[in-house]
Amino acid sequence: MTRWNNNRDEIGAVSADITAETNALPAKYFTDPEVHEMEKEKVFGQYWVYAGHATHIPDAGDYFTRTIGGKQIIVTRDDDGDVRAFYNVCAHRGSKMLDDTPMTDPGSLSRITCPYHLWAYELDGSLQSTPKSFEEASLNPDLDDDAVSELDPEENGLMEVNTDAIGPLVFVNFEDEPSLSLAEQAGSMKTELEDLPLGEYEHARRYVSEVECNWKTFSGNYSECDHCQANHQDWVRGLELMDSELEVNDYHWVLHYKHKEDVDDEMRIHPEHEAKFYYFWPNFTVNMYGTADGYGTYIIDPIDEGRFQLIADYYFRDADLSEEEEKFVQTSRQLQEEDFELVERQYEGLKSGALGQAQLGPNEHTVHKLHRLAQDAYNA
């Protein structure tokens, strides 16, 4: 049952049972600035979150930066060839060290040097060197040089962030000791994606859009297809929506969309004859349309409670796209724009404050999962 903000309807927790009365996340969790602040820790600080694609940093010292839940990190490859992540924060006095560097235009360095007082770090985060003024006390009349102790490289190194990967997809976790491993959080998605040659594909396009709604509003839209018939007419023409299935797992769900006409094997990266969209809590998707030999990823990146950036990346065998691949990207872009209109419109309604708690339909079980996970995260 819908709950209005009319002082009569009672808003409840998101029920475990989708057929119960209060089955949706209360509307305030989409519109309240304090919730946005809380999510930085409770959502983006507690789970494995996608950081980027390792193929952009093939060599030692290649790096890109990301800001996740307000935390700025450097993702780099160390001298042993392992991908590692560190806070972009100097161990001396906390300066931000490297300028923002997108994955699609990565940087390269042999060590990480802070511009402020030139402390330098190895690619494994350990302190490599400091200027002489940190080794002797010549400016300090009260201190003998002998009293200055040497800085231990490990104890004065950078603060590392946990990383793990699914194929070339790199995830980070800000907990000191993650309560879930990436394998546990990703479940069958990890094994399924690792069976695919994701790393053999080249990054071809990145489109970044800004959308005026809460990030979870878009996540919910991505996760259901009750809106497709009315709003994605071009796309659904080729689909057999009734044969499709929305599969829900612990922290991810998979949308299986069947095509009306079977598609050639060369036109898919994955073996199943269908389009396959993975949503991975909290804010990452892997999109396989089943009509092109390639895949896409989305990062649904909050700006504030009322805006997010959609960072859409496309990967193909060759970064030089064929006409058909261009068309694939265009179809995807068209779907995005159609969805942006829907979610901005929905958000305008939500912001008006009338709705206290929505109600989800029986085929919105994926959205229900999303709302349950958000609630679990807030309560944790």
């Binding site: 997108p102 699609t104 235009d105 990145r206 970044v208 859009s209 800004e210 950036q309 960072i311």
Partner: protein, 124 residues
């Protein structure tokens, strides 16, 4: 606030539209400086340069030199010229937002301008 007058013009202030042609991005911004914030946000994840597509507030300067234009705009905005306003005035004279921000940084680092509040500047 320097932009009160513009805000009065419409219930829902709209300073204009910015675009990234590479991303097919078109975003309407409420305040001139929202364009600058968006420029930075977008560049941080793409390296692309966002540009003004439409400017719906008053931003005119004769000069295409950042300092000259700032002096002109400073006459009407003695509390500080929003970087977005300066960028809009210069865009009209063929200077990209990114070039304006670089020029402002150079001017600031050489002590020729100051920042009475965040992202508002005036010539010294």
């Amino acid at each position: 606030m320097p932009d009160d007058e513009d805000a009065k013009l419409a219930e829902k202030p709209r300073a204009g539209v910015v675009t990234c042609p590479a991303c097919d991005l078109h975003v309407s911004v409420a305040e001139p400086n929202d364009a600058v914030e968006l420029y930075r946000r977008h560049a941080n994840v793409t390296g692309h340069d966002v540009e003004w597509e439409r400017v719906a507030f008053d931003a005119e300067a004769e000069s295409d030199d950042a300092k000259e234009a700032l002096i002109e705009l400073g006459e009407d905005h003695p509390d500080g010229v929003a970087l977005g306003r300066l960028a809009a005035a210069l865009a009209d004279n063929g200077v990209a937002i990114g070039e304006t921000l670089d020029a402002v940084r150079d001017l600031r680092m050489s002590g020729e301008i100051y920042e009475p509040q965040d992202d508002y500047v005036l010539a010294v």
